[in-house]
Every structure is written in structure tokens, then in C-alpha cells.
């Protein structure tokens, strides 16, 4: 009898353990799946904090609710940190060194006050200028040594006309949504391509080499973009 009771307790513990493992595993899978989503552009995307609420239909016991609440809190915290990281990086995106080449019109911006580029230069179909006013005609492979002389880097250009990648005038929310839209960026793999762009793109790196530098160092900027993406690439509220 005593042996039977012991066996019964052991079986109950085993059942409870399996149940807990399966519940936690399922909830984890839901969270990871939500974190890896590439959300489409627009306002109908879901924040990473939301999927935990979907478990409501599955979980019903007090233990399940506790797990669910814990995951929801963790997700909310991660989403909040992700948004804050984006807001920090946003200051770099909107700084003249970045935004001047992401104008809302077809004339690049210039200088620390982001005025319209002198000489009336225009984007052109490939983003490299028009006729005798090609970007590289003046912007050579290196910065020129002297006040008000054109800065330079190999491949100096604007985004092309079929993918303008406008930063100017965009709120943090609008810009974050656009970054996750392949039609805006041309990125095939959001995380990999976005990180490569901010870490390696010569024109991005060059932004820290002349005139007023962006408000974060390049390393800090890369870290913020990485944190934004790693924590779910949450979309800021405004």
C-alpha cells in the first residue's frame, strides 16, 4: 500500500513536471517566434510584447497564468528597452551627417543646418547626380583639407530614385516602420542587412569624419541599433 502511494506520488510529480516543461516550452516558442518576425510596414504590425496574450486561450491554471504574466512582463520590458534603443539611434539617423543624404526631395541637403545643397544638384535616376553635376565630380575619394571644401568618400551618392529612403521629416515611429519594410530599404534579411549597413557601409562610417559629428560615437550607434533589433525591433509609440 505504502509502495503504491509512493508510486502514485511519483507519477503525479512526473505528470506535473512534464506539464510544466511543455507549457514553458510552448510559451518560449511563441515568444521566440514573435521576436523573430519581420513585421510589414503600416500600423497593423504587432509589438513583441503582445504574443503572450495569445496564450490566454491555452493557459487556464494559476501556474499557467503566472508563467504567462511573467513572459508578458519580460516582453513588455524588452519592447520598452528596444524602443528606447531606437530613440537613441534615431538622433543619429536624423543628424545632418545622416539625414542630409536622405532628403524628402530630390535635392540633397548640406551643412550642419541641412540647407538645400548649393549648385542646385539633384538626385538623378541612380542617385549619383545629373550631367555635369554628378556627386563624384566634386566629392572625391577623400575629404579635402580646407574649410567648406567638399567632403569625400568612394561611392558618394544619394539613394536612387526608385528607393528614396527618406529620413527627413519622419517621426521615430515612421522611420522604424520603414526600416522594417523591404520596399523602403531593399534589405532581404532585415537584421543581417541592417546591421551590415550601420556597421560596415563606407558612407555611414564616413559620417564621423567631417564637420559636426553625430551625437553618438559609431560604436554606440551600432550598439543601439543592435539592441533595438535584438530586443524585437519594437516600433516606438510616436
Amino acid at each position: 500500500m505504502s509502495m503504491e502511494k509512493t508510486n502514485s506520488r511519483t507519477q503525479n510529480r512526473l505528470r506535473l513536471t512534464i506539464y510544466l516543461v511543455l507549457t514553458v516550452g510552448f510559451a518560449s516558442a511563441m515568444v521566440l517566434s514573435a521576436g523573430n518576425k519581420n513585421y510589414p510596414a503600416g500600423n497593423n504590425h504587432k509589438d513583441p510584447a503582445e504574443p503572450a496574450t495569445e496564450n490566454k486561450t491555452i493557459a487556464s491554471s494559476p501556474i499557467d497564468n503566472k508563467i504567462e504574466n511573467t513572459f508578458r512582463d519580460v516582453n513588455k520590458q524588452r519592447a520598452q528597452e528596444s524602443k528606447e534603443a531606437f530613440l537613441a539611434a534615431y538622433k543619429v539617423f536624423m543628424h545632418p551627417r545622416c539625414m542630409n543624404c536622405h532628403p524628402k526631395g530630390d535635392v540633397p541637403l548640406q551643412g550642419d543646418d541641412s540647407h538645400l545643397h548649393a549648385q542646385g544638384v539633384k538626385r538623378g535616376p541612380d542617385g549619383k547626380g545629373l550631367y555635369a553635376l554628378k556627386c563624384k565630380n566634386c566629392h572625391q575619394d577623400e575629404n579635402l583639407n580646407g574649410d567648406y571644401l567638399p567632403p569625400g568618400s568612394p561611392g558618394w551618392h544619394l539613394p536612387p530614385v526608385n528607393m528614396r529612403m527618406v529620413f527627413e521629416g519622419k517621426t521615430p515611429r515612421q522611420l522604424a516602420i520603414q526600416f522594417k519594410d523591404p520596399k523602403f530599404t531593399g534589405f532581404k534579411n532585415f537584421k543581417k542587412d541592417m546591421m551590415h549597413h550601420v556597421e560596415k557601409e563606407p558612407l555611414v562610417l564616413h559620417s564621423w569624419t567631417y564637420r559636426a559629428p553625430p551625437p553618438l560615437s559609431h560604436e554606440e550607434f551600432v550598439a543601439k541599433v543592435k539592441e533595438w533589433i535584438d530586443k524585437g525591433a519594437a516600433i516606438p509609440d510616436k
Binding site: 549648385q119 542646385g120 539633384k122 550631367y131 555635369a132 553635376l133 554628378k134 566634386c138
Partner: protein, 151 residues
């Protein structure tokens, strides 16, 4: 010694590699058709062609031209220079004339790349070349004439 190819001729010039192309053309090679305007790529008076691109020679170190070909107003392809010259005379474009070689070098790139430029094309192509005499309207008219003469 720096090897240069200018208007189809090869030159060896003994200058510092950082010397602007403008001063090598004018002072070393005696090609004074190209003018100094601002020295900061702002006005276009110094425009020459480097492998077909309309660069500002005042801010371009001569090292930039190594292995490439420079064309100045003196060596512009007659298929482009003749209709432009004729149109410039017909429309009596220049006033003081100082900026005109840069204007014509910019216009030549437009006509090379666009056989039928409209007013907007002309404005887009020529807006970087400043004329203190304000001959812009005559320049635009002359480019329309040159486009017809070129056909």
C-alpha cells in the same frame, strides 16, 4: 614626375601630386582656357572633363587624373564644340566671357548625354555654373540651338 593625358596628348609634369589640376593646366601646360573662379567647387568656371565627367579642376588634385584622360575647352570634341560655338555666337551669349568655357564644358556633357534637352534638363545641367553677368537666358536659348545644330 606625373604622367598626364590631356586633350589626347601625353605629358610628364613635375609637380606636387596635390597641385590642383587647374593650375597644372594653366601654369604648367599653358592651357589657359580653363578659368579660376572660386577655388572651392562653387562656381563651375574651372570645369573640365575627366574621363567624360565634368569635374571641378580647382579642387581636384592632379593625382586624381593619373591613368585618366583630361579634356579642356581647347580639346573638346568638334562634334560637341562646333554646334555649341556656333550657337553661342548666334545668340551672342557671353558678356564678360569669364565663365563661358566652364559653361560650354557643362553644356557639352548635357548634349552628349541628352540629344533633345528641354528647359528643365538644361536647368538641371547648368545650375552649377554661375555667371556674374547673368547670361542664363541666352545660355539656355543657345543650348536649344546647339541641340538642333548637332543633329
Amino acid at each position: 614626375m606625373i604622367n598626364l593625358k590631356v586633350n589626347g596628348k601625353a605629358y610628364d609634369v613635375d609637380v606636387d601630386p596635390s597641385t590642383p589640376i587647374l593650375w597644372v593646366l594653366r601654369d604648367t601646360l599653358g592651357l589657359t582656357g580653363t578659368k579660376f573662379g572660386c577655388g572651392a567647387a562653387q562656381c563651375g568656371a574651372c570645369t573640365v572633363h575627366l574621363n567624360g565627367d565634368g569635374i571641378r579642376s580647382c579642387i581636384s588634385p592632379v593625382s586624381r587624373a593619373v591613368g585618366k584622360e583630361i579634356v579642356t575647352i581647347e580639346g573638346l570634341d568638334p562634334k560637341l564644340s562646333k554646334p555649341l560655338e556656333q550657337a553661342w555666337i548666334q545668340e551672342d551669349v557671353p558678356q564678360c566671357g569669364y565663365c563661358q568655357s566652364g559653361q560650354i564644358m557643362a553644356a557639352a556633357i548635357l548634349l552628349r548625354d541628352n540629344a533633345n534637352p528641354d528647359d528643365r534638363d538644361i536647368d538641371d545641367a547648368m545650375t552649377g555654373n554661375i555667371c556674374r553677368c547673368g547670361t542664363y537666358q541666352r545660355i539656355r536659348k543657345a543650348i536649344h540651338v546647339a541641340a538642333k545644330l548637332k543633329k
